[in-house]
Amino acid sequence: MDNVFAFDVLVVGAGPAGIAAAFGAAESGARVGVIDDNPRPGGQIWRGETQQRADHPEAKSWLEKFARCPIEFFSSTEVVDQIDRGHLLAQSHDGPREFVCKKLILCTGARELFLPFPGWTLPNVMGAGALQALAKSGLSVSGKKVVIAGSGPLLLAVAAYLREHGADVRLIAEQAPWHRLARFGISLLLQKNKFVQALAIRRQLADIPYKASCWPVRAAGNGKLESVTLRCGDRTWQEPCDYLACGFHLLPNTELAALLGCEIRGGFVRVNHLQQSSVSGIFCAGELTGIGGVDASILEGSIAGYAATGQDARAAQLSRQKARSENFTAALRRAFALRPELRASVSPDTIVCRCEDVPLARLRSCASWRAAKLQTRCGMGPCQGRICGPAVEFLLGWKTSSVRPPVFPVPIETLARAPVSQFSRPSEENLIPHEEPR
C-alpha cells in the first residue's frame, strides 16, 4: 500500500526527548523514523531554533545531531490511531500515512493547563507559552503591553523572551505563594545549572514586578482584550494590556499513550527505570512521564533510545542520573500546586468548554463528566476535551479521562484507511483500566 513506512524504532514527537531518543536509537544502526505534528523539529521549547541560528547552544547542538543522524523525519504528521500492535495510522497534509514499527518511543510532550475565568475567551487572552510560540512564529509583540499570569517557571522564560522582542511586560502574576516559591528556590540551589539559569533570568527581569499569590480574576474588552483584573491577597486592581499570556503550569499529552494501553498513574505514564511503559515495546520519555523540563527530557529520551535498541548497559548507566531530575520534578509539583481560590473567580456564565460554548452553570447541573458530555456536548468538540477536561477536573473534581480513536479529528479519507472495525469497537477496550486522582 502507498504511504506505509516501516522502521525498527518509531519516535513520536521531535522535541528534546524525541530528538535524544532518535539519536540514541540510531547509534545502534537501527532504522529509525520520527514523526512530529509541527513543521519543524525542536518541540515547543526549541521552537524557532535552527541549526544555523539558535539562541540556546544546547538546542543548536541537538538540532545539528538530529539533522546529521540517519533517521527519516516526518513533519506535520500526527498519529491518530493504532490499526494493530506496532501499526499506527497518522495523517499529514498529504493525506493518511501508516507506520509499522518494532519498538515505539512516545515523546508527546506537554501542553499548558488553562483555567477559565470571566473573559478568558476574549481574543488576545491566551497561554503564556502560546504568546511565546506566536512571537517565535513571526507575530510582532514590539511595543505591546503584556501581562503574564498563571503559574510555573515558564512564566519567567516567556517574560524574558517577550521583553527581548520589544514587548512592554507590565507584570508577572504567579498564583503560588512566596513561601512555596522560596522553598523551590532552595531546591534549585542543589542543582547549580538550574540555579544559575534562574538567577540570570531574574536579573534580566529585575525591573518587572513579579507578584506571588496573584492571579487574574477577569479579562475585559470590547471584541478583544483591553484590561485584566488581578487579585493579590485582598487587593484587586485593573491592569490595561494588549495581551494576557496566562497558563497554569503544564500537563502531559497522554492521549496517544492511553489509547495504546499504557498505564497512566497520577496523570502521567508509568515507566520503569529504562523508560519502558506497561505495554511491552512501548517506551515513553520526557514530560509525558513527569514535568521535569528540558534536561530531564533529554536524559529520558537518551535512555529510551538506548533501551529500545538493546543498548541496555548504556541505558542503565544513564538511568542512574535520573534521581536528580526526579527530585526537580517533585519540587516543581509542590511549588506550583494550584490554590483552591482559583475556582472562585469562575462565574456561572463563564464558558468552560470553548469548542461547544458550555458555561459552568450547565455543567453544574450534570452529575458526571459522562453526563455532561451527553447533555451539554462539553468535551465533544474538536479539542476532544483536551482544554476543558483538565479545567473541569480542577473546578468540579470529575475524572475526565476518556480516550477513543481517532485521538485527533481526521478527514473522512483518513478514516477510510483504517479497517471499519477500528472505529466501531467498544470504547472500553481502549480505555485505561483506571486512573488515580491527581
Partner: protein
C-alpha cells in the same frame, strides 16, 4: 535575511517573512480573532500549539485547518470569514 512571500488574508494581500505560521500572518493582518464560536463569539488562539483548535481557518479552500501548525507558502489563500 529571511525571504518575503505574499499571501492573501480574506482577499487582501499581505507580505510575510517565510517561516511565519498562518496564524501569525492572520494576527499580523490586523485581525484579532480567527473563528466564530458555535454561539457566534469571536475567538482567537489559546494554545498556539495544535491542541485547542481555536485557530481553525480555511486555507487554500481547506476548511478547519489549524493555522498555528502551518507555515505560510507563496500565494496561500487564507480565509477567516467562513
Amino acid at each position: 535575511m529571511p525571504e518575503e512571500i505574499s499571501v492573501t488574508v480574506n482577499g487582501a494581500h499581505l507580505n510575510v517573512t517565510s517561516g511565519m505560521t498562518v496564524l501569525a500572518a492572520i494576527l499580523s493582518s490586523g485581525a484579532h480573532g480567527v473563528r466564530k464560536s458555535v454561539k457566534g463569539e469571536l475567538r482567537g488562539p489559546l494554545c498556539a500549539m495544535g491542541i485547542c483548535f481555536e485557530c481553525r481557518a480555511t486555507v487554500d479552500r481547506r476548511p478547519h485547518t489549524r493555522t498555528c501548525q502551518l507555515l505560510c507558502a507563496p500565494g496561500m489563500e487564507i480565509r477567516t470569514d467562513g
